[in-house]
């Protein structure tokens, strides 16, 4: 089978069901698992986006307002790939090419016999069910089921462990930040991850897209733990915007700042990819919410998680 994945999380799912060797094209953002380099890249950003978070936000909002797609499908390469199945998404126009873009590209090619699998997860269970759907679409139903069951079991085990560790004590309040300028709160599956990690998510509802909040709303809360994991940003990229934290967050009043409970995580690899690595994302969050209980995850994810001191310096976990 010839498979195209136009979404990083979908690429991870295709590989999780054992079909990596059947991939014939990926998106420009697909970078995991290892062994992906060298595959034809079938998408690109339509224009060069600015570097700063605030400027990116303005540019993307302008493009969406004018109904201009942020990304485009490279039609010639799509033709050459001769795909049997295309796995894409219908969740977020800012994340990857939209389902409409894919339909338009296929219409342009006059190709009607391609099986399109469109993913639109908003809750954790949707992600695990997508693994099953991808498995079925690729003729690997058993592998999809096994991968989904594995994720479900691992997530459930962490949830049970955190509940036991809390022993009825009050759950630490958790704020996850998905974008720094403006501040967007981690929505969709993030509140569920916070709950499983032993915490209670603030300013977000399960299954609902990231709300944008201002300093007033942020000043009205005092989270016990704050995890900053900007969508699409690796740790090094987030470091470039640390100065913004003191301007966009109530840095002087939040007790989490003085207690050293502000964390940075790799938001490119984790949390924002609705695929199998949401399990590792939960491990990272659990290591922040209940650090004594989940100490081994601090070791395991030491390259993807950092703690910030009040003076914005990076300190050890």
């Amino acid at each position: 089978m010839r498979i195209i994945s136009l979404l990083p999380s979908a690429t991870e799912m295709v590989c999780a069901v054992g079909a990596q060797d059947e991939l014939v094209g990926v998106s420009h953002e697909c970078d995991f698992p290892a062994g992906i380099p060298g595959l034809p890249i079938l998408t690109r950003t339509r224009t060069t986006l600015p570097k700063a978070s605030g400027a990116i936000d303005v540019a993307v909002r302008e493009m969406l307002k004018d109904a201009i797609a942020v990304y485009e499908v490279l039609v010639d390469r799509l033709r050459d790939a001769k795909a049997d199945v295309i796995v894409t998404q219908d969740l977020c126009d800012v994340c990857a090419v939209s389902l409409d873009d894919v339909h338009k590209a296929l219409k342009e090619l006059g190709t009607g016999d391609v099986n399109i699998v469109s993913l639109k997860p908003t809750l954790l269970q949707d992600v695990w069910d997508d693994l099953r759907r991808v498995g079925v679409a690729l003729g690997r139903e058993a592998e999809g089921e096994a991968a989904a069951l594995d994720c479900e079991a691992r997530v459930r085990a962490i949830g049970q462990r955190s509940t036991t560790a809390l022993a009825g004590a009050k759950r630490p309040t958790v704020l996850t930040i998905e974008w720094i300028d403006p501040v967007m709160i981690g929505g969709t599956w993030m509140p569920e991850l916070a709950q499983l990690a032993g915490g209670e998510a603030l300013l977000a509802e399960p299954g609902v897209h990231s709300p944008t909040v201002g300093l007033d709303e942020l000043s009205a809360i005092d989270p016990d733990v704050v995890l900053i994991k900007p969508c699409g940003f690796k740790l090094e990229r987030t470091h470039e915007e640390l100065d913004l934290l003191q301007q966009r967050l109530p840095w002087d009043t939040w007790s989490a700042v003085s207690k050293g409970n502000i964390y940075l995580a790799d938001g490119n690899a984790f949390f924002n990819r609705p695929g199998p690595r949401l399990v590792e994302s939960l491990e990272i969050l659990a290591a922040c919410v209940l650090p004594d209980e989940f100490a081994e995850y601090r070791t395991k994810h030491k390259d993807s998680l950092q703690r910030i001191a009040p003076d914005l310096s990076i300190v050890g976990l």
Binding site: Q20, D21, P33, A34, G35, G38, L39, E296, T299, K300
Partner: protein, 86 residues
């Protein structure tokens, strides 16, 4: 292109030996205890590893299949066929 080909030889293993297996994640106490180098431990370490050769072959096949317009990877393709991984 030469640099690209050379890059194939620089691939890193996706997990390191000291990373705990997800199925058998040791507790903090476990990690502080010295352990005997016995078959059980070696088996456990092997399960926690993804061999870097698998990644190498996968990436090499991609370059051989999709980036070989000028034939610069012909030797690589021949090698992959020789080791029956093409």
């Amino acid at each position: 292109m030469l640099n690209r080909a050379n890059a194939l030889y620089c691939l890193q293993p996706t997990r390191t030996l000291d990373m705990p297996s997800r199925d058998h994640a040791p507790s903090q106490d476990d990690m502080l205890q010295p352990s005997l180098s016995v078959t059980h431990n070696k088996s456990r370490a092997i399960r926690a590893l993804d061999p870097s050769s698998v990644t190498w072959v996968s990436t090499a096949k991609n370059y051989g299949r999709y980036e070989n317009e000028g034939g610069q990877y012909d030797d690589l393709v021949t090698h992959l066929k020789t080791i029956k991984t093409w």
